[in-house]
Amino acid sequence: MTQSSRPGTSPDMRVRIGALELKNPVMAASGTFASGREFADFIDLSRLGAIVTKGVSPQAWAGNDSPRIAETASGMLNSIGLQNPGVEAFCAKDLAWLAENAADTPVIVNVSGHSQSQYAEVIERLESERVDAYELNISCPNVDEGGMAFGTTCEAAADVVTACRPLTKRPLIVKLSPNVTDIAAIAQSVEAAGADAVSLINTLLGMAVDASKRRPKLARVVGGLSGPAIKPVALRMVWQVASAVTVPVIGMGGIVTAEDAVEFLLCGATAVAVGTANFMDPTAAIRVVDGLEGWCRHYGVAAVTELVGALEVDA
């Protein structure tokens, strides 16, 4: 155990995602936090490392039919389907609210599209707005066109990045799908295409059945699995990807506690995102922020970056 500072002194919690500096490594994950407004009654948004918004598309999307969620063992399925009011309404309502109420919290916009040009369209519209980074969602399992289809081959994944890269100088994060044979290869291809960071994992494609009704529990039949159940898969993928790329990795999947967050950092994540846990406890993200700082104090970690990739593995 590295003891690089005396327990008790104030640890440096800052991390960098490309050009973007975060006051701590803990973000709220896309789609589980709306644009933060609903959580402002419970937590101080300015204490978050960043807010990642719900997926935003050029026009309004209605999302999928109901039922849209199903609880599973230590997890949940969702098939919300990126319901959102479109980028214009998003700027008018969400970004405006954020500018007024969370001015010093970095805002990362999760960008969705049915086609390469739709991703580009959203970014172009947002360039004039106060946005700190983009997260390209090429891994949503809940839409028919686009979404995960872009995230399951190296070529398609790289193409989306290539289309968006020239449009912005802001950090471009690519959100990867876990529903693939070789996630490290996909990470490498988006890195080569110019991504500044990768985030993972999005949800695992799953299904739930109501046996007595003989029907799927979700109207869309399949949906995305999230929550504590998927943490082992997420840690493994973060570990694999972090060893394969040099850009920062943002880790997520089942994080509920600060200890969970530490596990992701040790596996190589530079930052983490809290997703489903926000539903379990609306203060979850802040508990992770506080807990992580407490962890660093307790173990005498002077800078949280010391934890990144610090897993000790026998040669």
């Binding site: 789609g31 589980t32 936090f33 709306a34 609903e38 959580f39 009654d41 419970f42 209605a62 999302g63 039919d65 109901s66 039922p67 849209r68 969620i69 199903a70 609880e71 063992a73 230590s74 997890g75 949940m76 969702n78 919300i80 319901q83 109501d210 009704k213 529990k217 109207a219 929550g227 504590p228 509920v256 489903t276 926000n278 539903f279 379990m280 406890d281 609306p282 203060t283």
Partner: protein
């Protein structure tokens, strides 16, 4: 319209937890913050277990609030309500998020109200009945249940509303038949300014139709699957004349006129 108080995360202590009807429990929780601010028709999102296997909270209407306590009437359906039924007085393992949602409201100038409950639909209307009594609004209650042993909260309604009419599917209490027969008669002979209803959605729709015919404004409390309970996840959508709304913040109480009834939106056990 009710003005919702700010919701909070609040740890609760179980003060009592008793079986009050077949498969139905009444749990009394010490929850001072929520008790002080909750309005009729609002709900709490309750974490029923520390264990990680059930990750979602369970939404329950606040049946009554008194002093520092709230009461929840719950039906045992699945794993979550099973665990709720096992809680003993003194238990401090649960916390709630609440009060949540948009509750019942009293239309300007209303003086005669009709309350229609079906089964556990009696739960979210309890506080409302008390509030109507306090504000001097005369309410009649029509209660339906499958059978006498599953009729809940009758005493409360007897004590605070002007009259209670009961119907059971098997005739074991009150009239033999559906509560909609009771309300059809009531609409024919009495004038109401507002109708409040909660119960199985098929019953609610029948009441809504009767109210529309009688030209009386009607409010309904809807159940949807909920993950966050606070408006963030979009799992609880209700299709309305104004597009998809969220049951957890725009409801659970809606003006019946704006709801586009869609069976597929119903929770599995409804």
């Amino acid at each position: 319209m009710t003005h919702s108080a700010t919701p909070a995360l609040e740890r609760v202590t179980v003060l009592a937890n008793d079986r009050v009807a077949e498969g139905v429990g009444l749990i009394v929780l010490l929850a001072p913050r929520c008790a002080a601010s909750v309005r009729p028709g609002q709900f709490v999102h309750l974490r029923v277990t520390d264990a990680r296997d059930l990750i979602l909270r369970r939404p329950f209407s606040v049946h009554r609030a008194e002093g520092e306590t709230i009461e929840i009437l719950y039906q045992v359906l699945g794993e979550g309500t099973l665990r709720l039924a096992e809680k003993e007085p003194g238990d401090t393992s649960m916390d709630l998020v609440g009060p949540l949602g948009h509750g019942w409201w009293v239309p300007e100038g209303a003086v005669h109200a009709l309350i229609v409950t079906g089964g556990l639909g009696a739960a979210p209307l309890g506080m409302l009945a008390e509030q109507l009594a306090e504000s001097g609004i005369a309410a009649v209650t029509a209660m339906g249940a499958p059978t006498a042993s599953r009729l809940v909260a009758r005493d409360l309604y007897e004590s605070v509303t002007r009259r209670v009419e009961v119907a059971t599917d098997d005739g074991s209490a009150g009239e033999h038949g559906f509560v909609t027969a009771v309300t059809a008669r009531l609409f024919a002979v009495e004038r109401f300014d507002v109708v409040y209803t909660c119960g199985p959605e098929v019953m609610q729709r029948a009441i809504v139709a009767q109210a529309r015919e009688a030209g009386v404004p009607c409010q309904v409390s809807l159940e949807r699957l909920m993950a966050c309970g606070i408006g963030a996840c979009l799992s609880c959508v209700v299709t309305t004349t104004e597009g998809r709304k969220r049951a957890c913040v725009d409801g659970p109480v809606f003006d019946a006129g704006e709801v586009c009834w869609d069976d597929s939106e119903l929770p599995p056990r409804h």
